[in-house]
């Protein structure tokens, strides 16, 4: 199993969710986050004083999938979240040790 963590532009969330459910992803966790990557920050002005916006808002997805689906999920996120402009986000893939469905006690692939 893999745990896929993706940071994407917030307005792309709905599109990415639809694309992922279409390829059979059955659950995900979503968090509103702030962070910086190569986009880093930018400066704004409030009441005449300049200030740096060091962290920009993103949405973080956490998706646990069977090994067989991982590449397809990464691919789908990459294509749907892409705008070709700086700040499109990142996708990370981690090995996942175990999974458990609380209600039934099913584990690992059956729990996903």
């Amino acid at each position: 199993m893999k745990l896929i963590i993706a940071a994407i532009k917030p307005f792309k969330l709905e599109e990415v969710r639809e694309a992922l459910t279409a390829i059979g992803v059955r659950g995900m966790m979503v968090t509103e986050i702030k962070g910086f990557g190569s986009q880093s920050g930018h400066t704004e002005i409030y009441r005449g004083a300049e200030y740096a916006v060091n962290f920009v808002p993103k949405v973080k997805l956490e998706i646990a999938v069977p090994d067989s689906m991982a590449d397809q999920v990464v691919e789908t996120i990459a294509t749907t979240a892409k705008t070709d402009k700086i700040g499109d986000g990142k996708v990370f893939v981690l090995d996942l040790q175990s999974a458990l469905r609380v209600r039934t006690g099913e584990s690992n692939d059956d729990a996903l």
Binding site: E44, I45, Y46, R47, G48, A49, Y51
Partner: protein, 441 residues
């Protein structure tokens, strides 16, 4: 101002019967009706100015951080209520000696609570039958005094302790404001010199501004506001509330300036009040649009907080003379108020004077501008007298405020401790929050 109105109206009342006898002459307004209409103007104007307290509270709540909102609202409730009590106990008679001076033209000889007319008073027992009821006059004037105190709280927000701030409010509303107001509106020496300040660009707004400036210098800036020679912005928590507050103040200003006509018992007075309403609105619009355009040009993006300050600066600018300007002149006078805001806000930051809501540019600097603008449209005013009066009031309020602030600093202490300031005054001093679910951070 009350006295001069009283004389001209009494003269009118005497002249009225003979006028009524002349053929084709317009029917004179009966004295009863004049009394009723004048009192009504004070009451309606007064409750509009009262509502400005809500405007100040919302503006300040929106421009402070969420961790200080409940405290800012507490200060606004406290200051308005204390102003009501102490203007009654001392301020009203100190401001209106009605000719009984301890020091001629400078200090009232009446130190005591205000007294209203008897219940169901009749014409012959009224304090001033030819003019208006005492209760309406007291109610109207009280609101101006409270507005002065409201100006101070915004500048000093987020770091001043509650109780010393409220003690200052008492001194300001019981003594400092009424004494200088007696110099103009109580028929004192500034009035005698020919100083013109219709609704109080100097008497109300600059007074609040000077007291706020003195307090801000003595109190020092908020932690983290100025670092390595740079200004670090501290954005407000809720610009929706700040905008609502600004519109409430804008509305209240119709009572502030319109009511300051001080009479509504004739065609001329009602027409003048109409001019004042229209000019007041025009000046606010001029100030807001100027700030909108200027922030776009100077900073590349419009700054809503400056647009709000711009509207208020426009209102303060027209307050010294809302009657004589044309609509066009009123718009320009207000627009210059908007210019003042855009350049004075960063200028104060250069001096490390931390004015949380921009009250010093809006009320003090635009107040001075408005007072100086009177001779532009009113030939009865002179620049010399206007400047002298600005300086006299400024020196008195600055010195008096500085003394009170320093005494409070030495006795009660003015600032909350560092930990309280960082955690927010809401939890540390009140133990409650305006927005419990997201006030952390």
């Amino acid at each position: 101002m009350k006295l001069t109105k009283l004389l001209s109206l009494s003269a009118m009342a005497v002249a009225a019967p003979s006028l009524a006898l002349a053929q084709d002459a317009p029917a004179a307004v009966p004295t009863d009706t004049v009394f009723i209409l004048n009192s009504l103007l004070f009451l309606v104007g007064g409750f509009l100015v009262f509502w400005m307290a809500a405007g100040f509270a919302m503006l300040e709540a929106g421009l402070v951080r969420s961790k200080n909102v409940a405290m800012q609202l507490t200060k606004n409730m406290g200051l308005f209520s204390l102003a009501s009590i102490f203007y009654y106990l001392i301020g009203y008679n100190l401001m209106y000696p009605l000719g009984t001076w301890a020091w001629d033209g400078v200090l009232s000889g009446i130190w005591g609570p205000g007294v209203l007319e008897a219940v169901g008073v009749t014409a012959d027992a009224a304090d001033d039958y030819g003019y208006a009821s005492t209760g309406s006059d007291f109610f109207f004037q009280l609101m101006f005094c409270a507005a002065t105190a409201s100006i101070v709280s915004g500048t000093l927000a987020e770091r001043i302790k509650l109780w010393p701030f409220l003690v200052f409010t008492i001194i300001l509303t019981a003594i400092i404001y009424p004494i200088q107001a007696s110099w103009k509106w109580g028929g004192g020496f500034l009035d005698g010199m020919g100083f013109l300040d219709f609704a109080g660009s100097t008497v109300v707004h600059s007074v609040g501004g000077w007291a706020a400036l003195t307090g801000a210098i003595i109190l020092g800036p908020r932690i983290g506001k100025y670092k390595d020679g740079k200004t670090i912005p501290i954005p407000g928590s809720n610009l929706t509330l700040a905008t609502l507050g600004t519109f409430i103040l804008w509305m209240g200003w119709f009572g502030f300036n319109g009511g300051s006509q001080l009479a509504m018992g004739s065609v001329g007075d009602v027409a003048d009040i109409s001019r004042i309403f229209s000019n007041t609105n025009a000046a606010a619009a001029g100030g807001a649009i100027t700030a909108l355009i200027l922030t776009q040009l100077v900073y590349k993006k419009p700054d809503l907080t400056m647009v709000l300050n711009g509207a208020l600066a426009g209102l303060v600018s027209i307050t010294a003379e809302p009657l004589t300007p044309s609509l066009g002149a009123a718009t320009i006078i207000g627009a210059i108020g908007g210019v003042i805001v855009v350049f004075a806000v960063p200028m104060l930051d250069k001096f490390k004077i931390d004015d949380v809501v921009g009250a010093i540019p809006v009320h003090l600097i635009a107040g001075i501008w408005g007072t100086l603008a009177v001779p532009l449209t009113n030939s009865d005013a002179s620049f010399g007298t206007q400047i002298t009066s600005i300086v006299v009031v400024g020196v008195f309020v600055t010195v008096a405020s500085a003394i009170v602030w320093m005494i409070l600093k030495a006795t009660m202490g003015l600032r909350v401790d560092e930990e309280t300031e960082i955690n927010g005054l809401d939890m540390a001093e009140l133990g409650m929050e305006a927005y419990p679910e997201f006030s952390k951070g």
